[in-house]
């Protein structure tokens, strides 16, 4: 009989449903097949013209009906699609979820094409005044909704019948992990028996790409898109902007067992630590990331030698991969070179607000399937980063526990520890 309370007397949190969309496809089956085959979802950009752009490749999701309808519409559809798969798998009424919603999604902005349409709709000489005047005359619910930060969660709440005030959050590239953490905490506090945690990001617009490009964060390996994301390689030159979503149905183990649900994994622990060093760079000694990993292990009640596999943040930027290696070596010591660690981003790129959730979903599948997805494009190992990155080919392995890292701009560091089975 599994223990229903954890080492700190809190309810054990199980995962009973998983949904995923990435540039590799819709749903767990397609994604897992591609991921374990070492297939890349990175491709030339076709959504908008690439004239003048230094980076002309991405991992956009181009195959959904909303793919050409702007960031808000696509982010909603990504979230809804993943949530539908997860709630269906959990065997919960699709219209009456019966627990709160935690959504990680990108900050919203009025789409440039809408701004242009407003401008074209009037003739007052001052552009700002004109846009305001036309906007109020038009009073378009769609345009209004697309620029409200709470809209996507509100619509998801309507669609799935989640309870109470939904929380939309941003911790930059750690957002997806934070959404899961908030769900775990709500269950542990006894506020609910189940929670729906979703990370979704469909915000790969030209402006988003240009912004990251101006910060020198993106790979410019345009000629060979599938090879562009190369975490832990010596010649890594930035991340690849990408889109996607994942949803987890989190449930107290007690509630999951009571209703006879299949337990897909356990959310053992969450840890976080903010960095006060710089807006985009990490403290050189890696201490905040180290603290986040240690906090997650402590929260999970596991020691360093009880982690079987690490799902890396592994963005493929020179800075991140170096810092991640430094912090992991500090926590795990000599053993770090023996722990398999791979980066899903080598295949799907960096899905920003969704990344933590997508990588948690893939971590859970790694344990269930007993297969570790590879780090592809590992052709020129960085000698300064001595890790077993599961290079280029998947590996069969018995994986009982996973550490998944998420780090983001603004000093965000969030780590999750997951386990295959309850204790």
């Amino acid at each position: 009989m599994a223990k229903l309370k954890d080492h700190l007397g809190r309810p054990v949190v199980a995962v009973t449903g998983i949904g995923v969309v990435t540039s590799l496809g819709i749903g767990k089956a397609d994604n897992w097949a591609a991921l374990t085959a070492g297939k890349s979802g990175i491709h030339p950009i076709t959504r908008f013209p690439i004239d003048q752009l230094n980076t002309r490749i991405s991992g956009t999701v181009d195959f959904l009906p909303s793919s050409s309808k702007g960031a808000s519409a696509l982010t909603y559809e990504l979230a809804e699609t993943a949530a539908r798969e997860a709630v269906t798998e959990a065997g919960i009424d699709l219209e009456n979820f019966g627990g709160p919603l935690f959504l990680a999604s990108p900050p919203v902005e009025l789409d440039w094409h809408d701004r242009l349409a407003l401008y074209k709709g009037g003739d007052q000489p001052d552009a700002s005044r004109r846009v305001l005047e036309v906007a109020r005359g038009l009073n378009s619910p769609d345009m209004f909704d697309s620029a409200q930060f709470g809209t996507i969660a509100d619509r998801l709440s309507d669609a799935f019948g989640t309870t109470g005030l939904p929380i939309t959050l941003s911790t930059a590239c750690a957002s997806g992990a934070t959404a899961i953490q908030l769900g775990v905490e709500a269950i542990r506090r006894g506020e609910c028996d189940r929670a729906l945690s979703v990370g979704a990001d469909g915000s790969a617009t030209a402006e988003a790409l240009i912004r990251f490009s101006l910060l020198s964060a993106l790979s410019t390996s345009n000629d060979n898109p599938e090879k562009a994301s190369k975490p832990f390689s010596k010649d890594r030159d930035g991340f690849v902007l990408a889109e996607g979503s994942a949803a987890l149905v989190l449930e107290s183990l007690e509630s999951a067992l009571a209703r006879g649900a299949t337990v897909l994994g356990i959310l053992r622990g969450c840890g976080e630590k903010a960095d006060d060093f710089h807006r985009t760079r990490s403290k050189p000694d890696g201490s905040p990331a180290i603290a986040a990993v240690k906090a997650a292990l402590a929260d999970a009640g596991l020691s360093e030698d009880e982690i079987d596999y690490i799902n890396a943040h592994g963005t493929s930027t020179p800075e991140n991969d170096k810092m991640e290696h430094l912090s992991l070596s500090t926590v795990f010591g000599e053993r770090i070179s023996q722990i398999p660690i791979s980066s899903n981003k080598s295949m799907i790129g960096h899905t920003l607000s969704a990344a933590g959730a997508i990588e948690a979903a893939f971590s859970l599948m790694t344990m269930r399937e007993g297969v570790i997805p590879p780090t592809i494009n590992y052709d020129n190992p960085d000698p300064a980063i001595a890790l077993d990155v599961v290079p280029n080919k998947k590996r069969e392995a018995k994986v009982g526990t996973v550490l998944s890292n998420s780090f983001g701009f603004g000093g965000q560091n969030t780590c999750l520890v997951m386990a295959r089975e309850p204790v």
């Binding site: 013209p49 009025l110 109020r136 619910p141 939309t168 912004r211």
Partner: protein
């Protein structure tokens, strides 16, 4: 599980009325305080502008100030005021273990670049290519960071060294409600001993007005108190620049370090009415019931925005409770969106702490309140969606 008492030990406030809890208490309890209005800069819209602020007082490094636009500077400044007020700001051990939830929208875009692109579009048929040309050459690389929602929290970490944890909630007034609710729940459950929670809104930018006006929510024409805008031109909301941060602690933690306690933070309740189905009134009623309101007269700091449907529903619900004496502080500060609910909670705590009520802000619409407020209600009913309230009690 053990449950901890949640108390408020620090308050940081900025609005058009001034800065700090004392200045706000003085202004808001004086009779005949008039709102500070700017009716010209964004005409036909009225805004409550920021007061003059010496950023150096809370953001010492000029380099840090340069990395932010006004919204992030404002939030970072107000957070600093709250930390100072709680006696935590210079305590490195307390700051480095402090957890933070910030309610945020987005930062300011570069108006000059945007308008330049729009002007250039007059003579170009290839707008998307024009966009690439202009954005790649005219955007300041670091402006992106000043726009990112979570970088207000990021700047608070950098400037004030608050590094326990950092989370940013988005979603207009609801973000402020959820931030306070989550922060309180963390302290109550023992997940956190001390927390920084709040937000800021900088309305003096065309896009910040546009966010409302895409839904025709802004009031136009002659300014009126928040409860009296029905039937006026426009949608009823008059926005204001400002911010509110609170330091929440467990009573044990606060007492152990000898902190001054303003008030206890009682139940915090949130809701999501499906307003298109007409659920708003019943949701507000449900929230009021869930807050276990005391019998008899009760002062209520209402974050009403003036938005016609939402404010009218809130007024009706409050009027139905004979003892409720509402104070629509938006009359004097304007609507501060994500910061509105933390602001309401802060003003409620000040009334409890000072053992005195606020006079009516609108004699035609608000009831008198006599006596010492032992408990005070704080509300925020979003202009478009999401609702919440909290009960604040004598320490």
């Amino acid at each position: 599980m053990k449950s901890y008492d949640v108390v408020i030990t620090g308050i940081g406030l900025v609005s058009s009325l001034g800065e700090g809890p004392d200045a706000h208490w003085q202004k808001l309890t004086a009779t005949g305080t008039r709102p500070v209005l700017d009716v010209e800069r964004f005409a036909p819209y009225t805004v409550h502008p920021l007061p003059e602020i010496d950023w150096n007082l809370q953001i010492v490094k000029r380099g840090d100030q340069r990395q932010m636009e006004t919204w992030q500077r404002l939030g970072t400044y107000v957070a600093g005021l709250a930390l100072d007020d709680a006696g935590i700001k210079t305590d490195e051990a307390l700051c480095s273990t402090m957890d933070m939830v910030v309610a945020a929208g987005g930062g300011e875009r570069d108006v000059a670049v945007d308008n330049d692109i729009l002007a250039a579009s007059e003579s170009r048929a290839d707008f998307d290519i024009l966009l690439n040309e202009k954005l790649t050459t005219e955007l300041r690389p670091t402006l992106f960071l000043a726009q990112l929602s979570n970088l207000l929290a990021g700047n608070i970490s950098i400037v004030h060294k608050v590094t326990g944890s950092s989370r940013t909630f988005m979603g207009e007034e609801g973000a402020g409600v959820a931030a306070v609710e989550t922060a309180a729940a963390r302290v109550r459950s023992g997940q956190s001993t001390h927390m920084l929670v709040g937000g800021a809104f900088q309305t003096e930018h065309p896009d910040m007005l546009l966010g409302y006006e895409l839904g025709a929510y802004l009031h136009r024409g002659v300014w009126k108190p928040v409860w009296q805008r029905t039937g006026s031109e426009g949608g009823g909301v008059v926005s204001g620049s400002g911010g509110a941060f609170l330091v929440l602690e467990s009573r044990e933690h606060a007492e152990k370090r000898g902190a001054r306690i303003y008030a206890g933070l009682g139940p915090v309740r949130s809701g999501r009415a499906r307003r298109k189905r007409g659920e708003l009134s019943s949701t507000i009623e449900t929230l009021l019931k869930a807050a276990n309101l005391p019998q008899g007269p009760l002062l209520a700091l209402s974050g009403a925005s003036g938005g016609h449907a939402a404010t009218s529903a809130e007024k009706t619900a409050m009027d139905a409770h004979a003892g409720l004496a509402a104070r629509g502080f938006g009359t004097l500060t304007g609507h501060m969106k994500e910061a509105q609910f933390p602001f309401a909670v802060a003003l409620a705590a000040l009334a409890v702490h000072n053992k005195a009520s606020y006079p009516v802000f609108d004699a035609a619409s608000e009831r008198n309140f006599d006596g010492i407020p032992e408990q005070v209600l704080a509300t925020a009913v979003g202009y478009h969606q999401f609702e919440g309230l909290a009960l604040v009690s004598a320490a």
